[in-house]
Structures are given as structure tokens and as C-alpha cells.
């Protein structure tokens, strides 16, 4: 039972990491993902890594099943029950368009067609008082209709239910009586927060993914147990925590968008103030870790117009990945992405029929990537094909040389990535100079030191295994339970008893949920409030101090809010009265272990790791430089390398700019600091 297993399922690959806590040995494997049944990929990976499930003491995995269901629109047949007069909220949406002037644009279809959206007589006012009692017969008829229609899941969302769930809960009871086998999702439970479209959309998405996620989870658990797993299979949530199978079955929506969570949590092991940069084949994902915690958001859309208002790690994703295509727009400017050559046909250099030049092709031409050691030599690539693609598609039109154009692609890609990092840092009141950068994914370490230099980030940590960093990160996540409740109250005349009561109730719910799953040790409670100045319509999340809230602590809360407001928007209004909108509590059961591994290599001479020298492009400021190339496997703890340098390993290429000095740390990470 000494082994920890972390698995990350991506669109292309399934990564697995096993750590033997006794020997400290770390093993990682990569296998192809196997959609639609991702469980197969897991079993393949376990087999390849030679893991005996009987030895496993902790098993966690992150998967994109729920995200894919929504993006690909392959979810369940859902029925929606709502307040009389308001069944079209879901289809009317918010009435804006994705583009200003795109006459041929099509509004997304609702996840539930109109004939499956049924109204029941009931109404609450804005304070949650019952104006019209629930007509139970309406509910019964709706449930019977859904049964006849073969609806698999029923979503329930009525107006103002976030202030008083009484009608929604009764509706669920009746639906269950009439149609016991159907799945239900209740908005007051999933997202008791104001704004009917966003809440409806969120609860509908939960219902939409539920049957498939439940099938997948149950299948996986059954098979893992058959093969000897004696532990619970934990699942990654989009907020960076993990949850037990029971929690997954209750709120599958918590896994939507959980893809990037593993990597970000991995980075929390490396520092408390970190900017994470994950560069894969199709996208560049950035996020911010502050005070050891990933920054969360509740303002995310899964796809355009499909908001998911549950707390998720705030990851900004732009279409700049290794496969992103460089092209010339109608005005003659060079653009990079968001179209990607993906893995098939892939960049031109793959020789699989791809004719469009990509970021990867530019990096090969510029000497940043090594033709002879692509994916550790596992993959043959041809730089001549890159040159040809750049020549054919770009050089003639731009009237420039291949090298000039390749450098241009690099420059534009870097600018797009820098802009993304600024959006998550500067734009939200964080100075990147106070952060470290952790790059991962196949391409992160390629661009990181250029990005860091442009933003004057003083330190970078290149993880030992950037390719399976997310799988590793899954292991470091804690079990956590979150609760929220709308509470609209001005701080001037706030009923502190009521405030304390709600906070206690929320905390109690979290603790109960955790302890019913056997997690009652090492608990850590975080309380916060979404606040705004009275009259504003959007909120900023501010920490609530621990303990019973008295007038002094309330002042502290307001102070926290003022500071956050200033950080985000550049000003605070101390004269204005603040109010709370929603209260949030999360309780975390800290992991008993820290996933770490042993490094037991005898010290060698740095010279042995030096593979040679090649001409490499280091941005406009340096141009091409003679750059020493090192082999990462041969580097040892304590080795020091001054930039410019390239450190190659099978799953990435680490580029160190001339302004940085790199050292290999105790866990064989490369730590580069600004000279």
C-alpha cells in the first residue's frame, strides 16, 4: 500500500505518475488517450507502469470527460422545470452576440429544447417570501411527461430560489416520487446565487453531464476494485481540490474545466507566489498562485455564452500552442493561431502532410528545437519541411528571408503570451516581478525564460518532469468541500447574528460532508464574501477573518474588500458603504503526505552533460548566439549553468536566456534566477 498513483487524462495523452513512498522511486508513463472510454487509457497506463493496484495507497485522477461532453454537446436528454412565465430564460440567453458585426453568426442552441422546458405555478419575491405557493400537480405532470419522453436527468431552477430553496427542494421530492430512476440537479444546492440565466445554465450543465459522468465513474470504480484497488478513487475538481466518488456522483459539474487543475496544483508545490505557464499543442494556459493558493474565479464560460458559475481555477487560455499556425491576414500582417495543426497532420516538420508553418516549425528553424533530438529522438522531424512551409506560405508574400520570418513568428507568439500573462497579473493588480514562473507542458520551458525576462520575473523553476507535471500535481491536491449562500446585506446595518449563523451553517455543511467521507483531520477553513459598494452590480471576493464576526472584525472585512477593489480596479471608495452579496466557505482536509521523490545519482562532472553547441536565436535583443546544449538526464544536484544555454530532455527543451543563471535543485528541478 506504499504507492501513490496520479493520472491526468488529456485530449491526446494519458499521463501516469507512481511514487513509491518507501523507496522514493518515481516512475512516469505516457499512453494514448482512449476516448470515448477514457477508462481504457487508465488501464493501459497502469499496465505500462507495471502497477499492482493492491499496492496502491492513494489513487487520484483528473479527467476531461465532463468538459468534453459539454464542448462536443454529447450530453444527456435533460428536462428543465422552472417558474411559470420563465421557461425561455435558457434560450433567450443574455441577448448579446459573440461578434459585433458578424451577420452570419449563429447563436448557440440551448442544451434543453423548449418542449422539454416545463413551467410550474409558483413564485417567490426577491427576499424569498412565497408569493404563489407551489402547485404540486404541475410538478407531477411534468415528471410524468419527462418519464414518457425518456428524459435522463431533470434540472430544477426557479426564480429567487437562492434566497429560499423550499420550492425547488419540494419539486425534487415530487419528481423522485413520480420518476425515481431519473437524475436530478437542483440550483439551490449547486449554485445558490443571484442571476437566473447563469444559475439555470449551470444547473442544466450539471444535469447534462451527470448520467455519463456517473456511468464512467461507476465503471471505473468497479474495474479498479476488481483489479485489487482497496482505496477510494479520488477525482480532480476544477477548483484544484480532489473529491471522493460520492461527491463526484453528487456534483459532477465540479469536474467541468478540471483539465488544467492538476498542473496548477503541481506548481503550488514549488512556490507560494507563482505564475504558471502551460504550453501544449493547441493552447497556452496561464494562471496565478498567490499565498500558496491558486486564484479562483466564478466568472467562466465553458464555451461562448455558456457560463459555469462554480469556483474554478482562473486559467486564461489563448490559442498559442506548439501547433498554432502562422498565417498572413487580409491586411498583410503575420498572425499566429488560434488555428492549430493539432497532432494530425501536426506541424510541417512532422512530415505527415501538414503544409502550414507552426510555432514548432519556427523554433526548429531558429535552432531552439533540435531536429535530431525531438521528443528525445523518439520522433523524426525534418527541418527542411519547416523551411519549405515558411517559404511557401509566408516568405513570398512578406518578401523576407526564412530566418526573418521565423524570428517574426517567435516574436508575435511571445507577444501574445506576454499579453496573456499580463491579463492574469498586472490587470488584476499583481506585479509579475513579485512572482516566480513555473513552465510546463511540452512547450512551456521553451518560451518561459524569454517571457520571464520581458516581464522582469526574477526566478523560474523548470520542473523535473514537465510532461507529466499535471499527473504529479493531482497527487498534491487536498480534499475540499465548498458551500456558498447569497446574503445581500449592507455593512451599515448588518445583522451580525445572522451573518455568523450563515457562516456557521455553511462551515457545518462542509465539515459534515467531509467527515461522512472519512476526512475529519487536518482541517483548514477559508471564509470569504463576495462584496461590492452599495449600488454596484459586480462583486469582488474578500477574505472574512476567522472566528465570530463582531463589529471590529466586520471592519476588517470591509478593509479587505477595499484593498481587493483597489487591487483589481485601481481605486477604492472609503466613504461608500459596502455590502455582501454571497458568502463562501470552504473546508479542506490537508493531505497527510507530500508527494516527493528521491534523487540518488552520483555526482558527475558538468562537462559530461554538455552535448555540443548550436546557433540559437535569443530574441531581437541578442539575435543568434552560440549556445551550449546540455542533456538533462546527466545533470546533477548542484550543477550551475549560466545562460545562454539549452537543456534538452525527452519531453521538453529548456531554454535559459543569457540574463539567467540556472542551478539544479534538490529535486532536480532547474532553478533559474535573473543575474
Amino acid at each position: 500500500m506504499s504507492k501513490l498513483v496520479g493520472i491526468d487524462i488529456g485530449g491526446t495523452f494519458t499521463d501516469l505518475v507512481v511514487i513509491d513512498t518507501k523507496s522514493g522511486e518515481l516512475k512516469n508513463v505516457k499512453v494514448n488517450s482512449t476516448p470515448p472510454n477514457h477508462a481504457l487509457g487508465i488501464f493501459n497506463a497502469l499496465k505500462k507502469a507495471d502497477v499492482d493496484l493492491k499496492d496502491v495507497g492513494y489513487f487520484v485522477h483528473g479527467c476531461t470527460v465532463a468538459t468534453n461532453i459539454v464542448v462536443e454537446r454529447k450530453g444527456a436528454k435533460v428536462g428543465l422545470i422552472t417558474t411559470k412565465g420563465f421557461r425561455d430564460i435558457l434560450e433567450i440567453m443574455r441577448c448579446d452576440r459573440e461578434f459585433h458585426y458578424y451577420l452570419q453568426w449563429e447563436k448557440p442552441e440551448p442544451l434543453v429544447p423548449r418542449y422539454l422546458r416545463l413551467e410550474v405555478t409558483e413564485r417567490l419575491d426577491y427576499k424569498g417570501n412565497v408569493l404563489i405557493p407551489l402547485n404540486e400537480e404541475d410538478v407531477r405532470q411534468a415528471a410524468r411527461f419527462f418519464k414518457k419522453e425518456g428524459v435522463e436527468a431533470v434540472a430544477i431552477c426557479t426564480l429567487h430560489s437562492f434566497t429560499n430553496p423550499v420550492h425547488e427542494l419540494r419539486i425534487e421530492e415530487i419528481v423522485k416520487e413520480e420518476y425515481p430512476e431519473v437524475f436530478t440537479s437542483v440550483s439551490a444546492r449547486i449554485l445558490p446565487e443571484i442571476r437566473e440565466y447563469e444559475r439555470t445554465c449551470t444547473v442544466v450543465m450539471d444535469a447534462y453531464v451527470k448520467p455519463e459522468v456517473v456511468r464512467y465513474t461507476e465503471y471505473l470504480i468497479d474495474n479498479l476494485q476488481d483489479k485489487g484497488l482497496d482505496q477510494e478513487m479520488m477525482m480532480m475538481k476544477s477548483n484544484g481540490a480532489v473529491m471522493t466518488p460520492k461527491m463526484t456522483l453528487d456534483t459532477p459539474i465540479a469536474t467541468i474545466g478540471s483539465g488544467p487543475a492538476g498542473g496548477v496544483m503541481g506548481a503550488t508545490m514549488l512556490g507560494d507566489e507563482v505564475i504558471t505557464c502551460d504550453l501544449g499543442g493547441t493552447s497556452f494556459d496561464v494562471s496565478l498562485i498567490t499565498k500558496g493558493q491558486p486564484k479562483l474565479t466564478t466568472q467562466k464560460d465553458v464555451t461562448w455564452g455558456m457560463p459555469l458559475r462554480v469556483p474554478q481555477i482562473d486559467v486564461l487560455s489563448i490559442g498559442s500552442g506548439g501547433g498554432s499556425i502562422a498565417w498572413i491576414d487580409a491586411g498583410g500582417l503575420l498572425r499566429v493561431g488560434p488555428q492549430s495543426a493539432r497532432s494530425i497532420p501536426g506541424p510541417a516538420c512532422y512530415g505527415k502532410g501538414g503544409e502550414d508553418p507552426t510555432i514548432t516549425d519556427a523554433c526548429l528553424v531558429l535552432g531552439i528545437l533540435n531536429e535530431k533530438y525531438f521528443l528525445g529522438g523518439d520522433m523524426e522531424v525534418d527541418v527542411n519541411l519547416s523551411v519549405k512551409a515558411i517559404e511557401n506560405k509566408l516568405c513570398k508574400q512578406l518578401n523576407m528571408s526564412v530566418l526573418e520570418v521565423a524570428a517574426g513568428i517567435y516574436k508575435v507568439a511571445v507577444a501574445d503570451m506576454t499579453e496573456a500573462i499580463k491579463m492574469v497579473s498586472v490587470s488584476q493588480g499583481f506585479d509579475p516581478r513579485n512572482f516566480w514562473m513555473v513552465p510546463y507542458g511540452g512547450g512551456g520551458p521553451l518560451f518561459a525564460s524569454k517571457l520571464a525576462f520581458d516581464l522582469q520575473i526574477p526566478k523560474l523553476i523548470y520542473p523535473r518532469n514537465p510532461g507529466v507535471f499535471s499527473a504529479m500535481g493531482c497527487l498534491s491536491a487536498d480534499v475540499q468541500f465548498d458551500q456558498s449562500q447569497s446574503y445581500l446585506a449592507s455593512v451599515e446595518d448588518m445583522d451580525l447574528d445572522k451573518l455568523n449563523q450563515i457562516l456557521d451553517e455553511l462551515e457545518d455543511k462542509c465539515r459534515k460532508s467531509l467527515s461522512s467521507e472519512g476526512y475529519d483531520k487536518n482541517l483548514e477553513v477559508t471564509r470569504s464574501a463576495d462584496m461590492r459598494y452599495v449600488g454596484q452590480n459586480f462583486e469582488v471576493n474578500a477574505l472574512i477573518p476567522a472566528g465570530k464576526i463582531n463589529p471590529k472584525k466586520l471592519q476588517e472585512m470591509v478593509h479587505n474588500f477595499n484593498e481587493e477593489h483597489e487591487k483589481w480596479y485601481g481605486y477604492m471608495m472609503q466613504d461608500a458603504v459596502a455590502e455582501t452579496v454571497s458568502l463562501r466557505v470552504s473546508v479542506k482536509s490537508k493531505q497527510a503526505f507530500k508527494p516527493t521523490y528521491k534523487v540518488n545519482k552520483s555526482k558527475t562532472d558538468l562537462k559530461e552533460a554538455l552535448k555540443g553547441v548550436r546557433k540559437t536565436y535569443f530574441g531581437d535583443e541578442h539575435g543568434f548566439m552560440e549556445c551550449p546544449i546540455y542533456q538533462r538526464d546527466l545533470l546533477c544536484v548542484g550543477h550551475k549553468i549560466s545562460g545562454p544555454a539549452i537543456i534538452e530532455q525527452s519531453d521538453t527543451t529548456n531554454v535559459i536566456y543569457p540574463e539567467y543563471m540556472a542551478v539544479i535543485d534538490e529535486l532536480e528541478n532547474i532553478v533559474a534566477t535573473l543575474k
Binding site: 420563465f86 441577448c95 459585433h100 426564480l159 437566473e196 498583410g332 503575420l334 499579453e419 459598494y533
Partner: protein, 608 residues
Amino acid sequence: MNAKKKNEIDIFTLEIIRSGLISLSREMGLAMSRTAYSVIFSEGYDFSCAIFDAKAEMVAQAEFNPVHLGAMAFAVEWCLKEIGIENLEPGDVVLHNDPFRGGTHITDFTIIMPVFDDKGNLVAIPANRAHLLDIGGKSPGGFGGDSTEVYQEGVTIPPVFIQKRGKPVTDIWKIILSNVRVPKPIYGDFQAMIGSLEIGKRRVHEYIEKYGVDTFQMYMEEIKNYSEKRIRSEIAKLPQGTYEAEDFLDDDGIKAQPIKLKVAVSVMGDTFVADFTGSDPQVEGPINATYGVAASQTYNAVFNLTDPYIPSNHGCFRAIKIIAPGGTIVNADHPAATFGGNVETSSRIVDVIMAAMSKVVPEKVAAGCYGTCHNCTGGGTDPRKNNDPFCWYLFREGGWGGRATKDGNDSLMDYVGNDMNQPIEVLENSYPWLLAKYELVNDCMGPGKFRGGMGTNYTIEFLNDDTRLNIITDKCNQAPFGLFGGLPAIPREECGHYNDIRVKMDKDSEFKHITEVFGAVSASKAASMRMPKGSTVELMTYGGGGYGNPLERDPKKVQWDVKNEKVSLKNAKIYYGVLLEPKTLEIDVAGTEKLRKEMLEGGKSIVK
């Protein structure tokens, strides 16, 4: 390879600065919406943000509100002209709202903040324009449907400093805030606007630091040239020639008489000319468009007809000429009333250009849009909140016209704006209202091979006793048009209206038109209607026109619409010639074929 001369354009840097300035404008807008006080602002997104260069020419804008963006260009120019560049200093903020100085309507405020380099040269001007809830005038929230001059619509503020060298100009603030009904939220909204300009300023300084002033300015110039090049190459692809069309507004709210808009669109090489000569003279009521509105909406139509991805800026404007004779409905002279010009006449300008171009680029146009912002404003005091005064502004979405290969979209904001609706739960918290319904309207869409989109019904009950209600809408009497055999929107059965406003004065009475209850001259425009506690207003928007012969519509699509109660069985038959088994909704294939054949041969697009 880096031996570029200092004053030579590097296309990679050009792309970097170009996309950077757009994302900067977007950042300004998001910060502003998140900090704003009025629901219309924060939830409705009724604002725009852009960056101008030292010549007051727009370089970059973000995707917020289309009608603001073109006109804002003129407003910034006015500010510089009137104040004088030599009088601007770092930390200044200039504000203005005059519709006749590049404004749109009087509640739209433009503010600008000049940004200087360390030698004191003006480098760039972040600017934004936002719709504020109230600026005095006789109707709370503006939109007095019976206003006859701009003085009745609110207080005009010419370009003035509201902040000088970083310090608020308190005298001006006092004047503004004593002339509005809801000073608190308006003050908060101004703070949000100024905060967003600060962000713009900070980012502009980053560019100056990185590239140097001369280089940065050179690239701003080139960004405009880039857009000009793109739009010209798109315009050149349109068939050369002159194409005419006419369209009508219902009335001006004062006289029950339709008002004509006429356009002759000429594609001349790579220049697009919209000549509105022959449009009706300006009118007494509040639907006169200013030149800024006519320009914005012509740009809007051209972008929709060409490439939606062209970054719009001053460069595009060079390729588009607008001939709008003074004293007409599309370029009214001071002191005409203009509230509705920006939201109604503006919509018709896009429609009439679409109609003209439909003759030569049928694949690029759409049938008639529901064609209004369906503005409903008002105010009163809130008994739930110590009788605090409140004002609101609602605009309503509706159905868009069918297109060559697709149905029109349902329930979208008019071409004029790209604003969002305001959540019911937020509105019921903010105002003493109870919504009775918010739903799509069945059977209103223009039938076609590709049908028009659906409008909505939004019904509000007032819980306070002193509401005053103002309405400016249009296309109550004129149907959104169909194209190429597609039919216009189907009129409302009980009254023949399209977009509609009805009121019910107490719980037990019937819905009636405002003409019957308040004696309004127009069914679509009125002001200061007293609504007692328990009274209700029904705001209904309509469907778009259809595109192509409805008898060619895939019967399965008709069946799906019937299943979803969007089209009735009866209309499936009489407009589409599709027969369905009433219980199971199975298509009667043989019967449908026969009926469609008869209808086609009989030359009928409708059987009754």
C-alpha cells in the same frame, strides 16, 4: 537581420501593438463594467472603450456597443477642438454629452484622458462613452417619447474639464449632480469611467516606455492604414454600381405619419458611399439622428456586409463616405430632439443599407431585423427602500432576419447595440417590480425557407404607486421585411401590430394600447405615463423577416418548430404548406407535397 532603420515599419511589431491596443480597450471596458453602479451599465454593457491618437483619430476599440463607436470618433475630435490641445495637461479628464458635437443621445457621455510623454507632448487619448441613467430633462431616465427639442431631453454639457491635473473640478460635479434624479449611481458610474481611463493611461505609458514616443506614434498611424487597406480590399469585391432602397419609421410620436429613409449606396472602386439624400426632413418628435449616428450605423452595415474581423478604427472610416444632408432625419440640426435617433432611426439605417445591397450580394444580407431597441425608461420612488428615488432604462432584444443559409437568430439585441439584458433577479432587487413573464413570442417570425428569429414578451407589474413610464419604440405598424420570397413578420392577430406596448391599469382589467389608455398619438412613442401600484406593462418585441420561399423550408424544421410550440399547426399549414398529424406531429408527406404543389402552382405563398 535586425538592421531595420529606426523609422521603418516592422510588420511583426505592428501586429503586436495592434492586438495589444485592442486588448487594452477591452481591459478598460471590463474594469468599467465591474465597478459601475447602474444595472444598464454593468449588466447591460451599454458603453464603449477606445484608444485615440494625438490627432483624435481612433486607433483601436473593443467589442462593446457599435452605435457608440463610430460617433465617439467625432466626440473626441470636438473635445480637442473646443478645449484646445494647448490647454490639456496630464491628469485632465474632459467630459461631454452634446448630441450635436459627435454625441449619440444626451444620456451618452464621452470622457477622455489625454496621455503625455515626459516632454509634455500629447501621445494618445484613452476614451470611453457610456449611457448614464439620467441627465435631467422632463422624463425620468430620458426617452421622453413626446419631446420636441433637446432642451426637454436633458442637460447638455459641452466639453468641460471634470478633472484637472488629477484633481476633481468640484464646481462642474456639483452642477451635473444637482441636475440628475439619481446622483448616487451616476457619481459611481463616473468613477468607474474615470477608473477605466486610468488603466488606459497606465498601459499607454508602457508602450511609450517600450517603443519610444516616435515609434509608438508611427505604429498607431500604420494600424489605421492597415485597417483601411483591409476594408478597401473588401469593398472592392462588392459589385460596382449604385443601389437604392427606402424604408420607413412608424412616426415621430407627435404626428401619426410614417417617416421615410432613403439611401443610394454606391460602390465606387474601393470606396463605399451611402447617400441619404431624399430622406425626410427632420421631425418635431425625438427620433432625429445626428450625423454621428448616421456615420456609426453606415460603418456598422459595411462591417456586417464585408469582413467582421477587420479591426475597426479611423482607417476604415476613410473608405466609407456618408452623405447626410443637414436638416434631415439622418442629420438633424440643433435643437432637434434626438433620443430615439440613436436607437430607432439608427436601426433603420442598417436595414435600409441591407435592403439596397440585397440586390447584388444576396448571400451577405439578412431580411429585416425587428428593428428597434424597444426603449422603456422611467422612475419613481421605492417604498421598499425608504422611498428612495430610482430610474431605469430597459432595452429589449428581438428576432433578426433570415439569411441565405440560416434562420435569423432569436432574441438578440438590435444591430445598434451589443448590450446584454438585465437579470430579472437583479432588477427585482433594484426596483419595486414583479416580472410576470419573460418568454419567446410564438408565431411572430417572418416565414421563409429560413425564417426570421423570435421576439420576446416581457411583462412587468409595478409595486410602487408613482411610476412614470416613457416609451420609444418603432415598427409597431411597419413589418420587418422579407427577402427573396420570404415573408415579412406575421402581425399580432388581435391588433395587427408588430413590436408592441400594452398596459393594464389594474389586476382585473384587460391589456390595452397606450393610445387607448393615455391618448398617445403614437402606439410606439409616449412619455410620463402614470402607472399606479398593481398596474402592468407588456413590452413585446417581434420576429425578423423570412428569407426565401417558405414552401421550400425543410418540413422537418417546420415540424421541430411546431414541437417546440414556436409555430402553430395552423401556421405550419398556411405559410409553409406542411401538414402534421395533430397528436403525434408526424409529417403527412404525401399531403404536404400535394399542398405545396398546389400553393406553388396557384402562385400563393399563403393559403387561408
